[in-house]
Symmetry: C2
């Protein structure tokens, strides 16, 4: 922590004590009369920061494979599909991402030779995305690295791993994620 | 769900049954012999999707105020600082974001008139970022909306709100977030 922050008044002092910026924000929320929103602010902000940490780790493991986590998810969806291909729209709804994000991910995967666009056999308005052999190789190698470097030891005790999955399943279900 | 997915083999069928793509991925992980990494994959992927949901809600509440959640965090850090200003480097370390992200957020806030850059009084190499009166107004109005529309009813039962905060505090602490 810089000397500047150390030397400033209340905020600096409290930050020194608690160390956790989210605990500090919670204190501020309560002081400002927003106590009813403080627990939610704390939970949602925790989610944002935890995501930042998890994403950095996942992208660190994926970097040697030349893909982002968003592109990895698209690859795995195709890898696990029975035909090795899915319509663009299905990819978007399964990953709950905006069509433009799917288009962007597929563009990048296609120029790397990992997927290719194909005409849909029965629906002329739809486009299929098919995983290539090179795509399957990257999917497998990237998964091996992600499993070893992130998922097998995700930075949480086994009990917390189960709790997070369970609580966030309720959150996702209520939000219409599936 | 599209007819295409409904009509495909195992994946479509299982997806129909469980409905949850993360449960389906967990099943696939176990089937492929990656059972030891399956719980971590499930927890981390849950975090990614929950973040997507939370971010969309927060940015929905912030949109009328013309700021993103990243810029909101910078504004609030300045709003809560005792002098109404902080060095660029302190903003980055408090928010745990990359210097280029801080520069980007500050650029956008500055061109909207919500912050201004100032020379540091004692460190010629450092730049201070100060919140303006307009910035304080936006911070207050945005917080009121976020509190009402997202934080007061964050989409989790009170018990789950506390659990998420607590588990992710351990995760963040172990990752060096504070």
């Amino acid at each position: 922590m810089s000397n500047y922050l150390r030397s400033t008044g209340t905020l600096g002092a409290v930050t020194q004590r608690s160390g956790d910026p989210i605990a500090e924000a919670t204190r501020q929320w309560c002081e400002h009369g927003w106590a009813d929103a403080a627990p939610g602010m704390s939970a949602i902000t925790s989610l944002m920061r935890a995501h930042q940490i998890a994403l950095a780790r996942a992208e660190g493991a994926l970097k040697p494979h030349g893909i982002t986590f968003a592109r990895y998810e698209v690859l795995m969806l195709l890898e696990f599909s029975s035909r090795g291909s899915l319509p663009m729209g299905v990819i978007g709804s399964r990953l709950q991402v905006h069509p433009t994000s799917v288009t962007n991910a597929v563009d990048r995967l296609e120029s790397a030779g990992l997927v290719r666009r194909e005409p849909h056999p029965s629906d002329r308005r739809a486009t299929l995305v098919a995983i290539t052999d090179a795509g399957r190789e990257v999917a497998r190698a990237a998964t091996a690295d992600l499993n070893t470097k992130v998922f097998a030891d995700p930075g949480l005790e086994p009990h917390d791993v189960a709790t997070i999955t369970e609580v966030l399943e309720r959150y996702r279900r209520d939000a219409g994620d599936f």
